[in-house]
Amino acid sequence: MPQKALPYLLLLPATLFLLVFFVYPFLQIAILAFSGPEGFTLKPFLTMATHWKFQTTLSNTILLTAIIVPIQLVLALSMASIVAKLKTGRNTILYIFTIPLGLSDLAAGIIWLAIFEQSGFLNSMLVGLGLTERPMLFLGYQNLWMIFVAVILAEVWRATAIVMVILVSGMGLIPKEYYEAAEVFGAGPWKRFTKVTLPMLRPSLQTALILRTIAAFEVFAVVVALGGTTLPVLMGETFNWQFALSDRNVAAAYALVILVISIASTLFFLRVLRTPKGATI
């Protein structure tokens, strides 16, 4: 067998896997979203867009993403800078930071539910310290903002580490010479961060932001655990239409909406954070 064929042969399993488990279901979903009993139709999209919950669902999802991703970015940048600076104990700190990554999102949601519940840790603490008389209901339908805050906390706690891991490896690739040169010209730590680290980190930032934003649009288990159906998000409605309302066409339409905004945000980050030609390390 010619040596030339080897790379393709090695790529074959992954390609087959993607074709069977990603491209094929995707095509099916796309067909479902545009079909009804009478053949091709836009009805699933119409049903989706005119449903009284759709607006709230869409804005909740986008708002959550718009808050969670920037917080995670800032936190991850500072965590990565700390880890990159460390001489001793670097691995220990890295392990501690990445512990939440090992949890499923549902488990993370349940952990935070245990904190915020009416009989949860936070309430027992407040009552124990005598700050409140009786347990408060944090996650009720009247305090939508509180559910919002809880979801944001849980998501930030759970998924910031993945951004950090990507940034740490990106920082490791930046040659020391740039920092030395900057120091020679009298640049302080902040200046070095904004003028050397950030620009050199572009490719890693791009990857991290794309991954996190797509995942944030798909937020589901954490929201379900903390807010039930009180805080509707796109993924939750997709699930609801598929299983509770057994209308897979509308569910497919929701799935396509998630896909479209995910692709849009990916293209946005690819364009905004592109590395100019010839500027690679």
């Binding site: 067998m1 080897l6 042969l9 009284w52 919950k53 009416q118 009989s119 009786r134 209901l137 996650l139 009720g140 339908y141 009247q142 379900v224 039930g228 159906t229 009180t230 598929q242 299983f243 509770a244 309302l245 057994s246 209308d247």
Partner: protein, 424 residues
């Protein structure tokens, strides 16, 4: 390269071996159920109810996956499900898919004739055999009884008395003590469909947007002021009853049972309240059917027969809090839940003003969307505070479209209709 190929080949072999062993393990009858899905109930059914039957694999599911697999096996024309256990509404969707069960030997067992008739699904064949029955009742902590309005009879409450009771508790204890299963998996829609609305309108569908319906929802909004706001997180009322967050609650008997089993002396059970049109309640009937694609129909029929035996029916009551559909004699050592809930169920179903309102019939896979109409009305008018008249008018449109799409005639308590059930 040769080595790569050899590794690949052995991997393929391993995969096919694994598939083969999985196939061989399928000799058991797969009992596919939408009932007894909570993990404690599943365990009890497996260990206590089915212990006398060799070779059965009891697999309860959430409603969505439950239906999806039945439909997938129907579409494929072959399958591995042996027995389907589901509600009347689930089973009536697929009448053509079930084997005739009239030759299952039920000698010496008196099955409720009304339920057997329902199991024919309007055909001449016995499409399913009734399995077990349940309904919804009220439960109260005994501490709540001191706030019971004067002259109120626990077994003959009205909605106004329940509201007065909830109000007295909220004012007396300083926090709302009425609880309602409005969580994501709570059965709130059944309360609106089978209890609140029929009690005021005598109808489940036809009078959805009538003035009487508006009155019913306004009564519920009044009750909601004295309802623990954490209710939107409650799925099973037995939990808040046990913690004491709630003193008075409405729920399915299977979702109240644990409260009575754990603290039998703390709680009382009694019928749902009555409205101007009567004491509306929703009977729940579960049945067992055998798909035409079942791998071993005889083994499946043997399992169905086993499930109908008096001892199995009594064990089912203990495991699931669903009552027998036969004349099975109940053991003396019944758990506290069955002892407390049984009389409440009887008091409700045999009340002089009893008004049964059935679970949706003939909606096919639109059942979920039908429920959503009632859930949406609740979320918009009660939780969201939107204008009730407007919400009812809009949701009535959705409901009408659903009825036309399903071409479903009215069911009790609505008057029989020609064609789809009208929404006035």
């Amino acid at each position: 390269m040769k080595r790569t190929l050899r590794t690949l080949a052995s991997a393929m072999l391993a995969i096919s071996m694994a598939a083969f062993t999985a196939g061989a393990a399928n000799a058991q009858v797969l009992f596919w159920s939408s009932q007894a899905a909570p993990v404690e109930e599943t365990q009890k059914v497996r260990e206590q109810v089915l212990k006398g039957f060799e070779g059965v694999d009891f697999q309860p599911q959430e409603p969505g996956p439950f239906i999806t697999r039945i439909e997938a096996e129907m579409a494929a024309g072959s399958g591995s499900i042996g027995v389907v256990g589901g509600l009347h509404g689930d089973l009536s969707r697929y009448a053509d898919n079930w084997v005739d069960l009239s030759d299952v030997d039920l000698a010496g067992i008196a099955v409720s004739p009304a339920f057997l008739e329902l199991g024919k699904l309007g055909t001449t064949e016995q499409k399913y055999l009734p399995w077990m029955q349940a309904t919804y009742v009220m439960a109260a902590n005994k501490q709540a009884l001191e706030y019971l309005p004067d002259g109120a009879d626990l077994n003959a409450l009205t909605y106004d008395q329940v509201i007065a009771w909830a109000k007295a508790m909220a004012e007396g204890t300083g926090s709302p003590k009425f609880g309602f299963p409005a969580g994501p998996k709570g059965l709130k829609h059944r309360f609106f469909q089978g209890f609140l609305l029929p009690a005021y309108t005598g109808s489940e569908v036809t009078k959805f947007r009538s003035a009487e319906a508006e009155e019913a929802w306004n009564k519920f909004k009044e009750l909601w002021q004295y309802t623990n706001p954490a209710s939107t997180n409650y799925d099973f009322m037995q939990e808040p009853l046990l913690t004491g967050d709630v003193w008075l609650a409405f729920d399915h008997i299977a979702r109240l049972g644990e409260a009575f089993n754990q603290k039998p002396d703390d709680f009382v059970a009694f019928p749902a309240p009555a409205g101007p049109k009567g004491r509306a309640f929703m009977p729940v009937l579960a049945g067992m059917a055998i798909p035409k694609s079942a791998p071993d129909v005889d083994a499946a029929k043997a399992l169905v027969k086993y499930m109908m035996q008096p001892e199995t029916q009594a064990a089912t009551l203990v495991a699931t809090n669903f009552f027998p559909v036969t004349d099975a004699t109940l053991p003396a050592d019944l758990p506290a839940s069955a002892k407390a809930l049984g009389p409440a169920v009887t008091a409700m179903t045999s009340a002089s003003d009893a008004l049964p309102a059935l679970l949706p019939v003939g909606l096919g896979d639109l059942g979920g969307q039908f429920n959503q109409v009632y859930i949406d009305t609740f979320e918009r008018a009660v939780l969201g505070g939107q204008d009730l008249r407007q919400v009812l008018d809009q949701q009535a449109e959705t409901l009408r479209a659903l009825m036309v799409q399903a071409n479903a005639p009215c069911w009790l308590p609505d008057q029989p209709s020609e064609g789809p059930c009208p929404v006035e």
